[in-house]
Homo-oligomer: 146 residues x 8
């Protein structure tokens, strides 16, 4: 039984690499997928494909078309979603990915620092598990196969 895990959230730290390495170390049968983690590429992807748009609003519009397309394809294939929230940025698309997973009955783990307990309280409440570190998240994932 191989499970697909979608790694949502923060793209400016190397938490995905850490988590993936730990899973490999433990020989856990997961396939990891994720949103575009190159921030510039993600902002530019719309214009890169359909060409220069008349203003920033529409530059963002065509980028989000393609980003949401990608996310929807991969999220649909995922059995589990792990999302890391960080201090930087508003990360509303992370909140959107997590909620989409919850509504589709996909089990969800949130990783967040103590400082975000309060603003994330309603979303944490709907996710299955909330932890503070990648190490804790991998223990939750490993528990499936105990």
């Amino acid at each position: 039984m191989n499970l697909v895990v979608y790694l949502a959230g923060e793209i400016h730290t190397d938490w995905r690499e850490t988590l993936t390495a730990l899973a490999k170390e433990k020989n856990l049968p997961f396939t990891f997928v994720n949103p575009q983690t190159n921030h510039d590429r993600s902002d530019d992807i719309g214009e890169a494909i359909v060409g220069k748009q008349p203003n920033d609003l529409y530059r963002d519009k065509v980028a989000s078309d393609v980003n949401n397309f990608r996310t929807t394809v991969l999220l649909e294939k995922a059995d589990i979603v792990v999302a890391q929230f960080g201090e930087q940025y508003r990360q509303w698309n992370t909140a959107m990915d997590v909620t989409t997973a919850i509504q589709a009955n996909k089990p969800t783990i949130i990783i967040r620092p103590d400082s975000l307990i309060h603003p994330l309280k309603e979303l944490s409440n709907k996710a299955n598990v909330t932890v503070e570190s990648v190490e804790q998240a991998i223990e939750v994932l490993a528990y499936i196969f105990e």
Copy 2:
């Protein structure tokens, strides 16, 4: 035909009053519902009901239990969701409410200032309409009955 509209988002400005007044002025057949808009009450509601908790994490936990209960009841009755995002706070529960509505196929309007175009681009992309003001939102709502 009376429609229920859930007004998600910002609770520190009077946008709900403005929107409701405009709807009344135009005799639009809407019933408006909303999350708890008293911030302190919303933070305190858990302990107010089940008593003092051992720490802030669990104070937030019991509050979010009751807030999510309320939101789920009202969102389930809503035909339409209008959400205003503002500059203040991270508003992840607003993003959660909007995504929940989208996943449940409820038509959704986002109101946000220009400054939030970029961080909201993926969520705007999934909502039906994004506008910049309450006045524009009410015009979208009024269009249903033209």
Copy 3:
């Protein structure tokens, strides 16, 4: 038992008035709703609300945002969809409305002239009933209450 009927399709003939009048004559307990039937208003609605867009593509984009918002609200409330296809225009949003209704298990009647039998064959095949005139459609609707 009052039923809501969404009248999709052709907006350049008076078939909705004819059908509504016939329903009234027969005292059938239907509430009729429809897409925006003023073609110019429907094309202009986006810019009328959010202002002039940089080009025709985006003029159409903001119009379709609001038109789809309206349609989704009303279609969701409908118990039945009746759609008239005519010779003019490509009417892809009519095909979209009918398919949306079919996928949501809403009973559907298509009205179309003989000349459109062939191009509409797959869609007719999925709708419940296909007829050639408003008079026939009203007989199908009346049959519910016999």
Copy 4:
């Protein structure tokens, strides 16, 4: 991770061959499926199986039975739908396939020439991405695996 892509729409140009060749060139892990692309076969399939029908209406009826059977089987297996609209024909079954995919939460790309922007505006608005060429569509598909 192999993904199934349903190629809906136009059957009188070789866009499927172009798209498939480009995917192969880029080693993208897609399996492509499509509706019957032989127009005569598609029109004749009903009578070919159940025999001569009394008139054209019923010739079309038995053909659409079998075409919709095929399409439903393959669309159900698809992870993604790409649909090309062209200038010729009314293509209501293409609009039907795209809407069916959207309602089933399957990510969707529309390819259409500039001349069809206006009549397709509501359907484009519901699809994830709209582009003008097969080359752009393949870039969107490739982006999933970046």
Copy 5:
């Protein structure tokens, strides 16, 4: 709380009148709906609306279009389905109505004589309750309001 009860099945006995009268006697808050119970009208309805068809197969086809339209509208509004199976006819549309109700999670009562226990065993097994008489069925319905 008023509940809609769809009375499926046998149309050659007066069981619907008996059941309805008993419900009235007990002041039970039910609205009863049913398929077309005039057998000839039900067989003729297609041709009555769209005109004479080339053969019996297509006469039946157009009749079943309209009958299924009617049934789907009313079944969708029903909270409960009661179906009486009798000795006469094959009653496959009754089995279809009951199964449709079961799949849509609508509580279902089957009424059938002892002689039909064996052929109905799998369908009875999926319905909530199977009884032998209208009097027993009305007791089950009355139990909701005790």
Copy 6:
């Protein structure tokens, strides 16, 4: 906005009367429904309708047919489920009612004494709110209308 509240669980104490009285006192717009609360009637209902069965297994079988029929009808109409677990009995049908509500996305409140914290931990974890008294439950319900 009137909401239907299904009161699942314990039938040997008067918690439903207390809760209903408190709701009336506060003028809360709820309609309360519940399972059969007369234990003997609930055990006997099957045989009372279809007659004496050959053994206790089948006496229980016909009773549960009718009880599940009733529960499904009323649970389907409910917007909210409140369930009280007590020390007595195994109450597996209460656990079933609560889980059915949760799976159908109906907001759920569990009332249970401290002594049941441990055995109910997984079910509490899925319900929206868990409290210890009817008074607390009514405060959660009242919060919807603040």
Copy 7:
């Protein structure tokens, strides 16, 4: 792409063997599954497992428990349902299997002799394709892979 085909219906003729042999001849990538086709075994399976029951009603009850269990498992795995109706027996479980498949959006083919056109008209109307012979059914199945 391998597809699972559930062969519902008639168990007293060798139509399944004919169909399977034809599929093999044409190298069609189907896996065929079916209900229990040994009539005696199917009637006896309940008592064979849980022991002698007090009467025929309950003998049938325990048999249908196990038969419905089997059918539900296999139908859930099926991509396509083919059902043959014959002259013998009432075949209500075949009607139930077909309707279950239709409600679950599984493409469905009915095979029936001319003599059953009329009693099957409403069910045929909901299935995708109705044919008169196994040979025709296999042509419909083969068309998927053209």
Copy 8:
């Protein structure tokens, strides 16, 4: 065709080993999964991952977070659920697992001693099959492949 079977319920007897061994003996193509069957580990898993909690209520809360996460992942992958209820403990999470499976249309077998017929009657009524021993359960499972 390999099927995944989730073995819910009792963790203090070796029924899972017996059932698995019998399946192996019969060469049945099942993959078995189960909840955490080490009781202490299951009670401790929350604190083992996120650390000591302020009291028993919250110790149980964090344990149930992780247990429900695990169960949801595995139940979602299951084609069939078999649940054994025993005399010991209240087993509300077993009732929850079974109901979740039933609501998700997953075929379900309950194993229980005679002494639990009465308290389990409503849940048994919703499951497909109820038996008294592992040997009987394996016969039901084997019947799928006859």
